[in-house]
Amino acid sequence: MAEILCPACGKPNPDDRSTCQFCEAPLPTEETPSRESPSADGKPIHPGDAPVRIDTSELEPVLPQWLREARQQARAAAEEKEEQPSEEATETPSQETGGEENKEEEIPDWLAGLDAQREEEDEELPDWLASVQADIASAEDEESSTEKEEPPAQEAPPPSIEGLELQEIETGELPDWLSDLQSEQAEGDEIFQFPTAMTAETGETAFPAPSSFEESPSAEESGAEEPLSWPEGLAAPEEGASPEGAEGLPDWLETEGASSTAAEGESVEEEIPAWLRLSSEEEMQPAVETGGEEELPGWLADAGAQPEATSETPSPSADEEKGDALPDWLTVEEVSAEEHPKPPLLEEEGETLSEQAAGPVEAAVSAEEVSERDETLPDWLSDLREAGFAAAGEAEEKKETAPAADESAAESAGEAPEWLETLPAVEGGRIEPTETGTPPFMEQPSEGESVPAFVMDEGELDEEMEEIFAVEMPDWLSALSAEKEEEPPEGEEEGELSPAELPDWVQAMRPVEAVVPEEPVEGEAGTVVAETGPLAGLTGVLPARPGFGPLSKPRPHALKLQVTRGQQASASLLDDMLQGETAPRSVAAPSRPRSRRLLRWVLTALLFLVLAVPVAGETTLTPLPALRMAEIEAANGIINRLPPEASALVVFDYDPALSAEVETAAAPVIDHLMVHGARIVLLSTSPLGSHLAERVLSTLRDEHGYRRGEEYVNLGYLAGETSGILGFAADPVEVLPATTEGTPAWDTPPLRTVRALSDFDLIILLTDDAGTARAWIEQTASYRGETPLVTVISAQAEPMVRPYYEAGQVQGMVTGLYGGAYYERLNGLPGASRRYMDAFSLGTLVAAIALGLGGAWSLLLSRASRHEESDEE
């Protein structure tokens, strides 16, 4: 049992079901036509696929005789060409050969015979055409003499032909049957000596001139006086054409040829089909036969009425109305030409052939003659003739209603399109040239005119073509014509056509996957009408059925976490650990050392006792230092080498807290200066320095008779610390211009000979701070020159200042109480250092003992406490 897959859910279903048993979706049936038209082999046509050539040999039995013969000749010619390719190449130019090859590739198979027909033209040329060619040859001499006298401006080619040539050169898609016509025209150019301007402007003939036509014996033997009308429309309107040649041409082309052979003889006319003669006579004698309109279909009647509208609204609208006159199936092709390029066949058919059909409108044929010829015409040609009469009647009516003043213009212009105005006036069966000597239709048309390739009116050509193809065309073309008359909807029209019967070029034009979905649309295959909801009544909506939504209610899921007891225990353990990490933990405060007040008081009392007793008792228990101290000796030597009344800068940069130590060390040095009579300049970078200096000098100045402003000067406070030191070193006069009393300092005796730092004989720095000592040493180094620098410092600053002494930047150094005592010993003058030496010695000794004992006791206590703590733990 066959199964049908559901297009919605994809599940198999029995073939007897019309809807899916799973999702209730309608199942596709076998009768459901697919929108996708397969190709001949049943495969769909995809974008980019090259058209597949289809064997249309089965259609040949239904082709008309002339078409079958043409196809047969084409095959024979192709075989001949393959056998003698080299000969063809030598005889024909390469350009023509290439053009022909290209044309052969583009030949629709159903028109392939036309190409061969061109080559066998000479053999099959009818007598009437041969006579025409003979006439052309005879008239050539006459024309050549007149053309030489004509000015070049009058040799302008027929615009219709020129335009056609250019268009075909550009596109290169000319159908073969039209190429044949052009070839014949080119041949006619050589044979009939057409106006040279036809090819002079382009420089070459646009169409190949087959030699077969040129060597045609029938053309020479025919002796016809008038050229063929339809090639005349392309090239030479003067020459007539013999209708005898209509036998060798396709019937529908004979119509064109006969339309311009109005001046043909009666002998020739007998061989022409009646309908063709009718067309020729229509040119000479335009008659009105309105009775034919009743028999025509509506669209054909409209086409017949078109010339009237065309004459009312000149050429700009002619192109637009052209589409109205065409059958619908051709009209559709033209409309879609913007989207899909037209095949050359339809392009030329829609334009050139319709214009060919307009030719007979010019000829006037009486009603009697028409009735006589109707008997000899086949039915389809009779219809065609009637259609031509209808159009001619329309044109005649228009001409009659025109004003009398415009009659002369109407004669040349007629009621046909304006480009037909250029056609020669047919009077007495001959086409009369215009004043310029060139055929009227060869003159340059005005701007906006539609210039057809052929002289036939497009509407009438359409009508004739429709009649011809409706009767004798293959079945598929007949079907198209029938559809056009019935004007069915597009969908039905496509459905009736069998894809396998379409020519390959039509297949290439069919919609393909890019625009047609592969699967049938739900709304079209089985129209879905919404029954409920806000879209009720609308078609083409997505059905709310299985396959488009959830099939069932979603199964509820438990929100409870599925874990085992072991996992829960692990999670809780991890949680406890994290909480334990983040919980604040009480830290045992370190035991604060309790101050042992008694011990402190004991120590204070001990130190007071040790220090006070020696000072108060002025004991000399401690001997003076016996070790040699070079820096102190250097300082002493510098002072000893000072000249009399030397200027010594003494800087007091120490704090009162350490004044006892520094002053004790500095006292022997300053005393030494005063002994040598040096003039002392006091300076300080500390706000209290000047007071300290006065305090030190106050004890010594009276002893040595020093007076303020005479033997010593106090410059006071030097602000700016390092910057102040640098500024003073750079320019002491500007930085500290006055003394602490406000008097000019640099005019006093100590500073009278000093204008720079290097002018001082000695610089003595008293400081308890290593930083201050470093600033003075470094900032004054470049300004001191040869002036020695001696530092009197506290014992705590010695490690920092000694490097400068050892580096030579400090020439002498006295350190602390020990150094002062040593300096006093060098001077031989005991001073304060000696008084404080016992207190200092006993004090340091007591402190050392206390520190040792106390440290040892603390260490024992610490060990004991640790043992206790370890025991407690």
Partner: protein, 208 residues
């Protein structure tokens, strides 16, 4: 404004620096002028500091905060000393008395208390930190105290006084001090360069 202050600082620093390296009278004069301006600004800065201290304590007294009475004493002492020094001069006996009777004993007493406190702390240091470094520290202090001065009745301690102490005080301590000085010199150089290039701005600067 920020750009202006940075430009001034950098340009002045470079001018003073170039004044030392390039023996040009123009640069030297410009350098000395800038240095004098710095000294004047430093003096003004001290005066401004005094005014700021006065303003703080006046505000403290006006709001009658805790310890406002010390503010009253500070302002009274400052004003009295300033006026005496302004009108009598720093060498006046009254000012010398104030200095010798108040400032000097107070600071000396603080130093005395410090010595007792340091001794007491040294004695109990091993009570709370009994490691080797503490022992070395206390041992070094003890050694220097013992060898700092000749012992009464005994004089210099043999070997310790004439060999070990000079070695400790002049070699070990000097070596450490030189290392410190080198570090200070490099720090000063780096600071100077940072100020010169504007990376370090010790002056008021709006960081926004």
């Amino acid at each position: 404004m920020n750009v202006l202050s940075v430009a001034i600082a950098v340009s002045v620093g470079f001018i003073v620096l170039l004044g030392y390296f390039i023996p040009s009278p123009l640069l030297a004069g410009l350098r000395d002028t800038l240095i004098r301006w710095a000294v004047l600004l430093a003096s003004v800065a001290v005066f401004m500091g005094v005014l700021n201290l006065l303003a703080v304590h006046l505000e403290k007294i006006r709001r009658r905060r805790k310890g406002a009475i010390y503010g009253v004493l500070l302002i009274a002492s400052l004003t009295g000393t300033f006026l005496l020094g302004l009108f009598l001069g720093p060498e006046h006996v009254l000012l010398q008395f104030l200095f010798n009777g108040i400032i000097l004993p107070v600071e000396a007493s603080l130093m005395a208390i410090l010595s007792v406190t340091l001794l007491y702390a040294g004695m109990r240091l091993l009570r709370y930190r009994s490691d080797w470094m503490t022992v070395i520290f206390l041992g070094t202090a003890l050694f220097l105290l013992v060898t700092a001065a000749p012992l009464p009745g005994m004089g210099e301690i043999p070997v310790l006084g004439d060999l070990v102490r000079p070695f400790v005080a002049q070699v070990l301590a000097t070596a450490g001090a030189r290392g410190i000085l080198l570090g200070v010199a490099l720090g000063t150089l780096t600071t100077g360069l940072r100020v010169l290039i504007g990376s370090d701005r010790p002056y008021p600067y709006d960081e926004k």
